[in-house]
Amino acid sequence: MTTPRLPAPLAALGVLGGLLLLLPFVGLAVQVPLRELPALLSGEVALEALRLSLASSTLATLVSLLLGLPLAYLLARHDFPGRRLLRGVVLLPLVLPPVVGGAALLFALGRRGLVGAQLEAATGIVLPFSFAGVVLAVTFISMPFLVVTVEGALRGLDGRHEAAAATLGAGRWTVLWRVTLPLVRPSLVAGLALTWARAIGEFGATLTFAGSLAGRTRTLPLAIFVALEQDRDVAIALSLLMVVLSLAVVVPLRDRWWGRAGSGP
């Protein structure tokens, strides 16, 4: 069966749309100082930022897994008062400007914040402008990707395979570990990858809550922002690095996740 072809004017608009998305990357690519690239990427500024970005995004992804997976399960399969509200709150970081998220974190966990003041008094821990603060801000922004993806998959299960597992003698932990999680594994993998990709690109909330301290809280996106004013070549090299990292996550997902149109939640 052949699918009908798009009328020429619309096809032209489609091509234009593709160009709009492609052009900036072409602009970036032609600016790349190929000869100095190895030196730029192995410079201290770049390595420090890369290390901070990889560490914070990976930690944020792990925290999201640890907290977000149970949250997704609660939202999908438990009925409790305020569930609808919580579902909405989970979506907030996806749509709010990250700077608002960062500001909210400051009001809650800053040194004079709602919880932050007590936290400091009790444990001496100060989150803002620390690496832990970066992880917190990044988790706040990226965890919803995991929660939303996995919640949708869990809601799609009818529970009958899990019932079958229980008749075979499997307790709750075994059912969760050996049946439920394998059943939602494709969504879980996609959710983790999306979470990590969003985490490594996080800028606004990190800057607002954790600042831009070189070697402590200045992740790749922040380093690029700073470098744009100081050393364009460093900015270009770091941007290229981000593009490559993001593509590495998004391209395999494109077919495995979004490719199956209609089967998602």
Partner: protein, 357 residues
């Protein structure tokens, strides 16, 4: 292995309401026997099975297995599903698609605390017993419907169940898959020491596999008894219509089926070998004198029993081929049917349903 639930007879008094539907039954299933729950769709059979498995708590009632109380709403007893040691075969198998066949069968023993190695060894023992060993490494998602149900049976048996529950295991299969699974069940059910319950809407399955049948209609047991008792004395129109069908076992060769030496001509030409023949009582014609016309199967016999059922009369005839016939009360009177009378039986070849036995 079975968390303290010893086997024994199953006794279930269960009341359960779901919307406008009420299940209200008191059934008994002896250990070492196969008991069928037979009834039309929507009668509550699968709901009852879910209660017995522990998947649905009853609104009111008491379920006991041997000396163990599984459910008692009077004192709040409810043994959780995973501690019941009930093996369940579901209508659509519900195999775990992310595991291979061996992993599916090993799941039960593993969940009950066996080591990975012991569980796999136990799985292989059952796969071999059920002649499925060659499928062991096949992903469960890549099986045919018939294969999947046989693996599901192996998975249920591998838990050494004290109670085996079969929920319409054959209804999603094609004819040959059904025959194959039915033979497998006939071979392996007797080895299960506890009660075996078979939910089905197909009287043939119930009669071939069950020692005892409870007929469920509209959430209630309308009749209980052995297959022979049900066939001989159906107490409701549904039972009479579906359960009262004559079911004969014989062997086919050259388009003729021999049943205990009696030969019947059939319109369908089955392959040579063992066959099952079904014949509706209304298709058994009775005559006072040798009938003319087309029927190729005619013989003379003796009336053994005459039983009225509403406007109809069920007549049991004897050797050489015991059959139930159903005629209207008017023609019974006209023929003067009474126990001990000689009658002629006529059966059209086209009325005989023949399937592989």
């Amino acid at each position: 292995m079975n968390a303290g639930v010893a086997s024994g007879d199953l006794r279930a008094q269960v009341v359960l309401r779901r919307g406008g539907f009420t299940l209200d039954v008191d059934v008994h299933a002896p250990a070492g026997r196969t008991t069928a729950l037979l009834g039309p769709n929507g009668a509550g059979k699968s709901t009852l099975l879910a209660v017995l498995a522990g998947l649905e708590p009853p609104d009111r009632g008491r379920v006991t297995l041997g000396g163990t109380v599984l459910d008692d709403t009077a004192d709040g007893t409810h043994v959780p599903v995973e501690q019941r040691a009930a093996g369940v075969v579901f209508q659509d198998g519900l195999l775990f698609a992310h595991l291979d066949v061996r992993g599916n069968v090993a799941f039960g023993p593993r969940s009950r605390g066996a080591s990975r190695r012991a569980a796999r060894a136990e799985a292989d023992r059952w796969l071999e017993r059920l002649d499925l060993l060659e499928l062991a490494t096949r992903p469960a998602g890549a099986l045919s419907g018939g294969q999947a149900q046989r693996v599901a049976l192996a998975r249920a048996l591998a838990t050494d169940p004290t109670l085996l529950l079969l929920d319409e295991p054959m209804s999603a299969l094609d004819v040959s898959g059904r025959t194959q699974l039915r033979r497998l069940l006939a071979d392996h059910l007797p080895a299960v020491a506890g009660p075996r319950l078979l939910v089905t809407h197909d009287p043939t399955e119930a009669f071939l596999l069950a020692d005892l049948v409870h007929v469920l209609e509209d959430g209630r047991v309308s009749q209980s008894g052995t297959p022979d008792e049900l066939r001989a004395r159906p107490r409701s129109p549904w039972v009479a219509d579906l359960v009262g069908t004559n079911l004969l076992q014989g062997s086919a060769s050259d388009g003729v089926v021999a049943i205990d030496g009696h030969r019947l001509a059939t319109a369908e030409r089955p392959g040579d070998g063992p066959v099952l023949v079904t014949l509706h009582p209304r298709a058994v014609a009775l005559h006072r004198s040798p009938p003319g016309g087309s029927p190729r199967n005619t013989w003379q016999t003796r009336v053994e029993r005459v039983e009225p059922l509403g406007p109809r009369v069920r007549v049991q005839v004897g050797a050489p081929l015991p059959l139930t016939a159903e005629v209207t009360a008017t023609s019974a009177e006209r023929l003067g049917l009474a126990v001990g009378e000689q009658v002629w039986v006529a059966v059209k070849a086209t009325e005989l349903g023949v399937t592989g036995g």
